[in-house]
């Protein structure tokens, strides 16, 4: 019997109610993570998977079609399509994730300040948000890239400049509702500074919405980059990028369908992966 005293005490009803198990990992999350891991893994391991260069010209090998040497064929300049697909993913995913991250941080900070302090700061910020939201998104992005000149930097600036407003809008609305709760008054009664109240008490209670949105925002941003590439406003050649690959490949769609089709397929698969992942994250973070 002496051994029993070393056992942990039995669970109390409080603990049984805790329902740690209620935070369930949904099938969506598993499937989404699997798809994303495979794509990110392939993209990062590109030099190991393929021995071809994504940019070197090789006109003698142009438009070879599917084969064992060139799994997805070669484009009109003799570059291996499969290799360019892998390297192109690096560019698209990197810009999408970083630009969304920057928009997320910037928009959350501005939305939190506007919602917390209210008054003229709030009015000013929200009018700017309204103006940016009132423009068709693509018109604004294309105009910005056009003014700044094509290039990676311009794409970053254009996306961040138009995308932060979504996060400001979401967070500001949540903060305005949340700051009426008594625990915010209690935090003020404990003498905490505004920054502490915002960072430790308000934002953790509001951020779920923004995180869930950011997952679908990555999908949308990839589409934006691809669209810019398709319109010739994207990452300048010879860098491989899914959008410009589709654009270049479409002239050969009747004879070499693979050149435009496979970049499209991988964009769709990436989008599905991110959407499933976003749904799964939403289930996981949902407060009981």
């Amino acid at each position: 019997m002496a051994g029993l005293s070393s056992l942990p005490p039995p669970l109390t009803s409080d603990e049984l109610q805790r329902g740690r198990g209620s935070r369930r990992v949904s099938p969506n999350l598993v499937a989404g993570s699997a798809i994303l891991l495979v794509i990110i893994g392939l993209v990062l391991a590109a030099p190991l998977i393929s021995s071809y260069s994504p940019t070197a010209l090789n006109p003698l090998q142009a438009l070879l079609g599917l084969s064992m040497h060139h799994l997805l064929g070669t484009d009109e300049l003799g570059r291996d399509e499969w290799t360019r697909l892998l390297y192109g993913g690096r560019v698209d995913l990197e810009i999408a994730f970083l630009a969304v991250l920057a928009s997320f941080v910037l928009g959350t900070a501005i939305g939190c300040l506007a919602g917390y302090f209210g008054g003229w700061v709030d009015v000013l910020v929200m009018r700017v948000v309204d103006v940016i939201l009132a423009f068709p998104f693509f018109v604004l992005v294309i105009a910005l890239v056009f003014i700044l000149g094509p290039g990676t930097k311009s794409i970053y600036i254009a996306i961040i400049a138009t995308d932060w407003v979504s996060y400001t809008w979401i967070i500001r609305r949540e903060i305005v509702a949340m700051k009426k709760h008594e625990f915010v008054l209690a935090a003020a009664a404990l003498g905490y500074k505004h920054t502490r109240i915002m960072l430790r008490h308000l934002i953790p209670n509001c951020i779920t919405q923004a995180i869930v949105y950011s997952m679908s925002d990555v999908v949308f941003t990839i589409l934006t980059i691809v669209t810019l590439g398709f319109l010739g406003l994207g990452v300048p050649p010879p860098t491989a990028e899914w959008g410009s690959m589709m654009s270049d490949g479409q002239q050969f769609i009747t004879t070499h369908w693979e050149l435009a089709t496979f970049p499209g397929i991988i964009v769709v698969i990436t989008g599905i992966g991110l959407s499933l992942f976003g749904d799964g994250i939403a289930d996981l973070l949902r407060v009981e």
Binding site: P9, D14, E15, Q17, R18, H181, E182, F183, L185, A186, A187, A188, A189, L190, G191, Y192, K193, R196, R200, H201, P204, N205, V287, E288
Partner: protein
């Protein structure tokens, strides 16, 4: 009173909304000694919570103190700027709220919430803060404190949450604890435990308390002195024994008569007729006049300041003698006075 902790003099508060301006606190004065508990009773909307929030400078938007003094440990809190006030809040004056569910951050572990005060105010490290949180949780009677550090508020019962609130309020060893109806949301047995805990903590720390409640039974259990508030004013103040056994204001008498008595069950519960006056447009003269059975013509004009009845028992009623006589004639209250 040699060791005076808090002295409120002629405090006036104005609260402006878009539609109207009200004065939820008017000419309120009281003293609180170290280690003393003052109860403040009154019905909803009489300004008792507003008064409490004024003490730590946390009025809602549009509210401000327009007159008077709040002298705490020799400093007038109304003269402090926001930064100086922040140092007083939490550190010298703690506060606990009515609803322990909504007054705790739902997504933060309770250990972190308790440790936050010492970390923010006293420069504790995270580790020392945790240690302090465990001590405090044991002090407020939370069993298995080390494991409960990681619990979220939703995983605790109402009584446990209120204990966490008390631990948070006491974390920096304040000199004054403001309690805004801390037991109203709890059932009676838990209420009793929390009151006992507050009494124990007061005995061991010598903290001064202001205890806002609308429950006379709770006030009589925990307070030495009691102030009765009606329509933004204190109408009667004195020791619990004298105010509850020998009420000198008709409003207090009405409140006492409205308490159900189980030894002597009546078919109809007593209540005070009428409703309290609007604070946007308070009546001239005595504010309780319209609901008072002792009202006479001279109640309709003039100011009604607190006047000493005997000892430190003061009343704002100019017909306190007839009120007193009625109280003594009341079978229940009179019997309490005789005891």
């Amino acid at each position: 009173m040699t060791d005076l902790l808090l002295s409120v003099k002629n405090l006036r508060v104005e609260l402006s909304t878009r539609r109207e301006t009200v004065h939820p606190v008017e000419n309120v004065s009281f003293d609180l000694a170290q280690g003393e508990t003052l109860g403040i009773v009154g019905e909803s909307g009489c300004g008792k919570s507003m008064m409490l929030r004024t003490l730590i400078g946390l009025l809602p938007r549009g509210g401000r103190a327009t007159g008077g003094q709040i002298v705490f440990q020799g400093t007038d809190l109304l003269s402090l700027n926001e930064k100086q006030l922040r140092d007083v809040r939490g550190r010298s004056i703690g506060m606990i709220f009515q609803e322990p569910m909504t007054a705790l951050n739902p997504v933060m572990q309770v250990g972190e919430q308790i440790a936050e005060g010492p970390i923010a105010h006293l420069g504790f490290t995270k580790k020392a803060g945790r240690q302090r949180a465990v001590e405090l949780m044991q002090q407020v009677g939370i069993p298995d404190a080390v494991r409960r550090l990681r619990a979220y508020p939703s995983e605790l019962s109402g009584g446990m949450r209120q204990r966490v609130m008390i631990a948070m309020a006491l974390a920096c060893e304040p000199k004054l604890l403001l309690c805004d109806e801390p037991t109203t949301a709890l059932d009676v047995t838990i209420q009793d435990q929390i009151l006992k805990l507050l009494l124990e903590l007061q005995a061991s720390t010598g903290i001064g308390m202001i205890f806002v409640s609308h429950d006379l039974a709770v006030v009589s259990q925990i307070c030495q002195n009691v102030a009765v508030m009606y329509a933004a004013q204190i109408v009667e103040i004195g020791s619990v024994a004298s105010v509850l056994a020998d009420p000198t204001h008709p409003y207090t008498l009405g409140l006492l008569r409205a308490v159900p008595d189980f030894d002597n069950v009546k078919s109809v519960l007593e209540s005070i007729p009428g409703i309290p006056p609007s604070l946007a447009d308070p009546p001239i003269g005595c504010r309780f006049r319209a609901r008072c059975s002792f009202a006479q013509e001279d109640c309709a004009v003039g100011d009604f300041p607190l006047m000493l009845a005997d000892g430190d028992h003061a009343s704002a009623c100019i017909h306190s003698d007839s009120c007193r006589a009625a109280a003594q004639a009341d079978p229940i209250i009179g019997a309490r006075a005789a005891r």
